[in-house]
């Protein structure tokens, strides 16, 4: 398996070399062989000892190209590629959707307090598109790029979940 780890430069390769039985494996990580013993495993996570060091990993989401893990409490994203033809490197901290994406998404769940634009309006990157309320706090959702608001997917007084699309900007 080849992959990139978000926020970490370089490409990583890993494969199982040998199954020693009794839940023990020899695993090769970037050309270095290490012993791995699985203590527990189910669909939600795995606990293992890798070269004498214990790790607890939760599998949050996984697909064919991407895997979200929590490794010893640290959230990490792996981008899996059979052939790595693209460098995936992203800074820590928010970041938000890339500038080319259509959809402006909510990064928190909440109640829609106000919407600043109507469909068809033009908007600049960083302008407040709507205000959400969650936990007695108001949070402004800002446009992720310049453009025209193609559609608004929320209503005042309604609620949004995390990652719900708020508006489409093109």
């Amino acid at each position: 398996m080849d992959c990139k780890i978000e926020d970490i430069e370089g490409t990583f390769n890993g494969e199982i070399v040998e199954n020693l039985g009794n839940n023990e494996y020899v695993i090769k990580l970037n050309d270095r062989e290490q012993n791995l013993k699985i203590l527990n495993m189910d669909a939600r996570g795995i606990e293992f000892v890798l070269d004498q060091k214990y790790h607890k990993v939760k599998y949050l989401e996984s697909g064919t190209s991407k895997m979200n893990l929590v490794v010893d409490g640290v959230p990490m994203t792996l981008n899996l590629h059979a052939n790595l033809d693209e460098i995936v490197y992203k800074n820590v901290g928010g970041g938000g959707p890339a500038g080319t994406e259509l959809a402006l998404k909510s990064q928190i769940p909440g109640k829609v307090i106000s919407i600043a634009f109507q469909e068809g309006a033009s908007v600049k990157k960083g302008e407040a598109v709507c205000v959400l309320e969650s936990m007695k706090m108001q949070v402004t959702v800002k446009a992720h790029k310049d453009g025209n608001i193609k559609s608004i997917k929320i209503k005042e007084g309604g609620t949004v979940a995390k990652n719900d699309v708020i508006a489409e900007i093109e």
């Binding site: 494996y25 495993m41 293992f48």
Partner: protein, 495 residues
């Protein structure tokens, strides 16, 4: 004597109050909104009553409904916790009228503490130093100018009705004051429909230092040392500690006497907190009395050995404070980290949802007050405080190291938390050296350091992540080939 207490609150503070009541053999009544039926305080109380919808206004702020529940349950006292109705004089008065023992100060002194202008006037009379400025509203720009020159620039022009930065101006000289006076008035008029301007000294690089105080119904008054709460975000405390690195015994005693005077000046009863700003020039200015049990009371418990909720109940029962000022000795050091459900990098935006898994730290010198348990939910209806992690140490360094270990052990799945931020803060030299100020985060570029720390953590864990991914993919493959039924179940579990 109090025999049954209704706790008009939720979350960790409701649990905290229930614990002391249990140990004292006092029955407890929990109240809960529709959102909280599965909360820990509901499960731990002797009795639990549903009081309405999730929205605070329809449950935890609903005075009539709470009064009705007090009467229905036969509770003879009510503990308001913090937030919600805890500093609402109308509710305290409602309890007084109905002969219910409100565990806190009287409605009258609560009202006085809540009225900043009136309180400041009382404190000035009692020779309690307050932030230099106009003793009352100023009538025009000329009067403002005169006061500004007395207390020295920079000063703040503030509308009494101001808030959220509106109706407020920072000015550095006569010219700026004259230029800004009218616009500040105008902004206040526009925003609040009225205006009344104050002048106040603008303080830079300040520390937030507060004193725990206690006063019984006979008027015996003590202070139970200071807490430094300078590490804040958006004026909300994040990390507190006691003793403060800038308070020596002489200062502790000297300001302590002022605190006792302040408590007497407002005829305070029960436990409260006197808050001060402390400048780099070592001046202390009183700002307000919080008329309730404070979130950060556990660190005072850790260094004093007192159970402050028990002390509250004793005082509410009319008993005298069972010790004198001179009997109180500070023992060791304590730190509290407020474990918030929030995303540090999204400007501390709240993060809510179900918590499938949680590991609560423990060990020598570790105390964790929390409502979390595996399977609980962090609701978006209430504030983001999920718990309070406190450590005690014989030395400050022991206390700090225990906190770092406990923060590492604290695992909360499902929401973003302030834990990584605290780990970064506690590792800085500035924190270790006690160089604290209310702008600590910005002053020392903490978020950039956090970003660097997270990157380092990721680097340290990259092999483990890769190994987990490899095992996952192999396991998945083996399942697919071994049995169709198995792989289906596996996939559905992944969804």
């Amino acid at each position: 004597m109090i025999e049954k207490v209704l706790i008009a609150n939720r979350g960790e503070i409701a649990i905290r109050v229930i614990r002391t009541c249990k140990a004292l053999g006092i029955k407890t009544v929990a109240v809960y909104s529709d959102e909280d039926y599965n909360s820990l305080h509901v499960k731990q109380a002797t009795e639990s009553y549903n009081i309405g919808e999730g929205t605070p206004a329809k449950s935890y702020l609903n005075q009539e409904k709470i009064l009705e529940t007090i009467l229905a349950s036969g509770a003879d006292a009510v503990h308001p916790g913090y937030g919600f109705l805890s500093e609402n004089p109308d509710f305290a008065r409602l309890c007084e009228k109905n002969k219910i023992n409100f565990i806190g100060t009287t409605s009258n002194s609560m009202e006085l503490c809540g009225d900043k202008m009136q309180c400041k006037a009382v404190m000035l009379k009692a020779k309690v130093p307050t932030v230099p400025g106009s003793p009352d509203i100023v009538k025009d720009a000329d009067e403002a100018l005169q006061i500004a020159n007395e207390i020295k620039y920079p000063v703040l022009l503030k509308s009494v009705y101001g808030g959220g930065g509106r109706g407020i101006r920072l000015v550095h000289n006569d010219k700026e004051l004259n230029e800004n006076y009218d616009s500040a008035v105008g902004e206040s008029m526009a925003a609040f429909g009225k205006s009344a301007m104050l002048v106040e000294k603008f303080l830079e690089k300040i520390r937030h230092i507060e004193y725990q105080l206690a006063r019984d119904k006979k008027g015996n008054t003590v202070h139970i040392f200071e807490r430094e709460c300078s590490i804040q975000r958006r004026n909300q405390k994040l990390i507190e500690q006691t003793p403060s690195p800038v308070v020596d015994q002489e200062t502790r005693d000297r300001i302590g006497e002022i605190v006792v005077r302040a408590a007497k000046a407002v005829d305070y009863t029960n436990l409260g907190t006197a808050e001060f700003l402390r400048t780099d020039e070592r001046e202390f200015f009183f700002i307000e009395i919080n008329a309730r049990l404070q979130v950060e009371h556990p660190i005072t418990e850790l260094v004093s050995g007192l159970d402050l909720v028990k002390l509250q109940i004793d005082i509410a029962n009319g008993e005298p404070i069972p010790f004198k000022q001179k009997d109180l000795k500070m023992n060791g050091y304590a730190i509290e980290c407020r474990i918030n459900a929030e995303d540090t990098f999204l400007d501390f935006a709240p993060s809510t949802g179900p918590i499938p898994d949680v590991t609560i730290p423990s060990g020598p010198g570790v105390r964790c007050d929390t409502y979390l348990y595996p399977g609980c939910t962090v609701s978006s209806f209430y504030d983001s405080l999920m718990g309070k992690l406190c450590t005690w140490g014989q030395t400050f360094e022991e206390c700090r190291l225990r906190m770092l270990t406990a923060l590492n052990d604290f695992y909360i799945q499902g929401v973003e938390t302030s834990i990584p931020l605290y780990k970064t803060i506690l590792k800085t030299d500035e924190y270790k050296n006690g160089e604290l100020s209310t702008d600590f985060l910005k002053r020392y570029g903490i978020l950039d350091r956090l970003t660097a720390d997270i990157k380092e953590d990721k680097n340290a864990n990259k092999e483990a992540a890769l190994a987990a991914a490899v095992i996952h993919s192999e396991y998945f493959k083996s399942r697919v080939t071994s049995s169709v039924e198995d792989s289906t179940r596996w996939k559905s579990q992944l969804d």
